[in-house]
Symmetry: C2
Amino acid sequence: MKQNIYDNNTFFSKYQEIRARENNYNNLLEQPNFFTLLPTLKNKTVLDIGCGVGDFAAYCISQGAKNVTGIDISSNMITKAKKHHIHQGLYFEQVAFEDMEVPNGTIDFISSSLAFHYIADFQLLIKNISTALCEGGILLFSLEHPIVTANKGKESWVTNEEGNLLHFAIDNYQNEGLRTQNWLVDNVIMYHRTLSTILNTLIENGLQIEKVIEPIPTEEALYSLPSLSKEFRRPTFLIIRAKKGYINS
Amino acid sequence: MKQNIYDNNTFFSKYQEIRARENNYNNLLEQPNFFTLLPTLKNKTVLDIGCGVGDFAAYCISQGAKNVTGIDISSNMITKAKKHHIHQGLYFEQVAFEDMEVPNGTIDFISSSLAFHYIADFQLLIKNISTALCEGGILLFSLEHPIVTANKGKESWVTNEEGNLLHFAIDNYQNEGLRTQNWLVDNVIMYHRTLSTILNTLIENGLQIEKVIEPIPTEEALYSLPSLSKEFRRPTFLIIRAKKGYINS
């Protein structure tokens, strides 16, 4: 079953509160690194999976993309996206990627920020993405790092009696699949996959790895949000750029 | 400074004891997975970095490789290799890869089992490997997983009062470089690199990722060595196969 947690109104309003703050993990850590891996957008056809309120889709248009489609399973998100971003060539649709009809080989760039860990069938997701991309097309996505998702919902940071962080707990790494956590509301579900599953699934579907980032904060980000210093101890995010093509020699 | 721990005689005799047992991590976990990624060896020129006592180099000859060079920094290892494996086309040399003169683009296959985490300059290592490989040549290597090397020498498995394993401790992940551990003898040194450093260094040097394995034990291996069940909780090894070439589309 597809989870549509962003249409849970308690969750959505708490989520909006976090995103309204400038000093959050997305703005300070994930997004700046995600942006370093963007391909040229000029005249490109773009699909943004899990587009949220549509800011990134609108950014692609501002950079000269020919047409950009943002999809999201949440009607809360798509309603906001349609309201705030109106532009020729910019489309928003409330649909799960699994249910979307994507024409073969027509998309230049598929992006997805922190959405893939909500999708149950990773094999099918990547297969469909590869089909949708043109030859030479780019997939850029971020997700929670397998080091973090492995033991999600159970032990994470371990502290001593004084409350100091001792280390991060990893466990259940090879047990892929559903994880349940309490984040903003109870029982938010997500999916853990190992690093090798993530990379091999891309490669087996003709998507060659171009770059991998495990983000660390800049000095400015640390000043703005000191808790980001934990990122030196274990990574929260994994960002991957891959290209549809084959290895020639 | 290059470490030559295998020429420490206390270390070497303890190491030989472990390897003499059939039910060790190498035989049950690392080697079977390493072998699944071997390229065709028939008529190939092979270089094995950190060849130890030369068993793998001799195996390559048995599979039809044209010539195979095994190198190792340890004279203990090379002495044994030369004594036990004598064959036309099979060469052993006591030398660090950094000090070896490798002709450009002439090697079809470079292998290395559990040696790269001892080498200080990973960038230079991979640059030289890429230079040595012919177009389409294969690099296959295994090393200790970054999840394990990150906090090496400090906390690892955390147990409760009854001695049961609670979880594995990860820390210092983004702090790459020297680690000191007590394994067989005191102060064995190795180097931690993040997963993204390992992958990006390959890619930046024209080596495209073909497959990544984080090995889990078979049922037979678990029966032979029950402590391997820990491998489901966090991986000990990382095995990568890469191909010299460029991404075409």
